[in-house]
Amino acid sequence: MNYLKHIGKYFLMLRQVFRKPQKWSVFRELFFREVEDLGLKSLGIIMFISFFVGGVVAIQTAMNIDSPFIPKYLIGFATKRGIILEFAPTFMSIILAGKVGSYITSSMGTMRVTEQIDALEVMGINSLNYLVLPKILAALFFYPLLILLSMFLGIIGGYFAGVITDLFFSEDYIYGIQLDFDPYFIKYALTKTVVFAFVITTIPAYHGFYVKGGSLEVGRASTKAVVWTSIVIILLNYFLTQMILG
């Protein structure tokens, strides 16, 4: 029953979020600030993880293909498919849920407990629209770019890991990643990313906005937000895969 109450409250929150911004010049400023906070500041971790996990995927694929009847270019092919379909959009979104989700909940939660949100309301500002809409739009705009970069770096990471360790030849890997390229898979991955970007910003915003109490509750809300965002991403990943590829 309690879950239903939260789900209802979440959708009521969204109704307040999707209103016309009170001043476009202020909204534009906030949008670019959020692009920096939620997107550009996540570039480093996304690049680092993508490169090394791409390497691990390529090494593990190579290690598991020991039959002489399986061509080596399949390592590149499997790495590319794994990274584009699953690793970049889903795994990176869960990383972002941890990093960005906790940031959103703790910053909004702190604003709530220090009455900064009340201050916005008293001034006649729709605080949900002011605080959450720029975050959603910044994530919807920037995360697809981040995931495309993650795909690229993951594949590059696989290349370097295999070539340096002599697990496969450079030509085989490059042939493998070019083999049977289907742009629809990129579309599928980006569709998932857009949905996950929405989840990564709105669920933590919900937990932060409605927090009650003090700093301890803000900490608890951050943990809850990350857990619920990850759960929703995993569930939506399953349903979206069924709907789009199934």
Binding site: S25, E115, E121
Partner: protein
């Protein structure tokens, strides 16, 4: 004038305000006092529109709050300045940006004009060279003064203050009290202060509303509070020996 008529507010079936009626006049520092849990903050939040009362009327110069549409309510809120207990300054913005914030949202003026206004209100609260600092770099008293500056930057008709002296030393508290009173007179606004601080009550309370268990148990001025025989008020206001002696001295002199 702000008029409150028969205001009821409850939370989860528990009544917090039980039919409060009172008025707050222009150019006066009005104070709401009472024990913790008496309903002061809830009353203030009802006045600010942060809580919706179950019953009753709140009227701002004839505009009944509950009957206003979203647009008119937003307009009314722009006429309200609020000083929160902890200041509620936006941590991520500089002092200048904090004060500029309501102007940027609602005033269609050139930036230079808005910055001039920021400097005028900063001067009014006796703050200098803090424009580029962040709230965390200022003392509690300075933060309160910035909060007052932000509250008056839009030339409000109504100023609300929630425990403006909490956490301040007595000297700074007096400075803040005097500042609020001066601003009230100068701008001819309606000021409502929610306070626990009996020094403030005695110093600047031109109208005092005493709440007890969600009802308006007494009201009067800071002069009348010395003479009152109301037991609840006497118990609350003169709970310390110092204030008891002050009252006795006052009464013996006026007899």
């Amino acid at each position: 004038m702000i008029e409150i008529e028969n205001l009821y507010k409850e939370f989860d079936g528990v009544p917090v305000l039980k039919g409060i009626s009172t008025t707050f006049e222009k150019g006066k520092t009005n104070m709401i006092i009472g024990q913790s849990g008496s309903g002061k903050t809830v009353l203030l939040k009802c006045l600010l529109g942060l809580h919706t009362p179950e019953k009753g009327i709140i009227s701002f110069d004839g505009r009944i709050h509950t009957e206003l549409g979203i647009k008119e309510r937003r307009q009314l809120r722009q006429e309200i300045g609020m000083v929160f207990q902890g200041g509620a300054l936006f941590d991520s913005l500089t002092i200048e940006e904090n004060i500029l914030f309501p102007l940027k949202m609602f005033a269609n003026k050139p930036k230079s004009e808005m910055l001039d206004r920021v400097n005028i209100v900063l001067n009014r609260v006796n703050l200098e060279n803090v424009n580029k600092k962040y709230p965390a770099e200022l003392s509690g008293g300075m933060q309160k003064r910035v909060a007052i500056a932000r509250a008056i930057v839009m030339n409000p008709k109504y100023l609300f203050c929630d425990e403006p002296n909490s956490g301040l030393d007595p000297r700074t508290a007096t400075v803040i009290d005097n500042l609020i009173q001066e601003i009230t007179k100068e701008y001819q606004i309606i000021t409502i202060i929610n306070s626990h601080d009996m020094n403030s009550v005695m110093e600047i309370g031109e109208k005092i509303v005493f709440l007890q268990n969600g009802v308006n148990a007494w009201e009067g001025s800071n002069e009348e509070i010395f003479k009152t025989e109301n037991e609840a008020v006497v118990d609350f206001v003169y709970s310390s020996n110092l204030f008891k002696k002050v009252r006795e001295t006052y009464l013996s002199k006026t007899k």
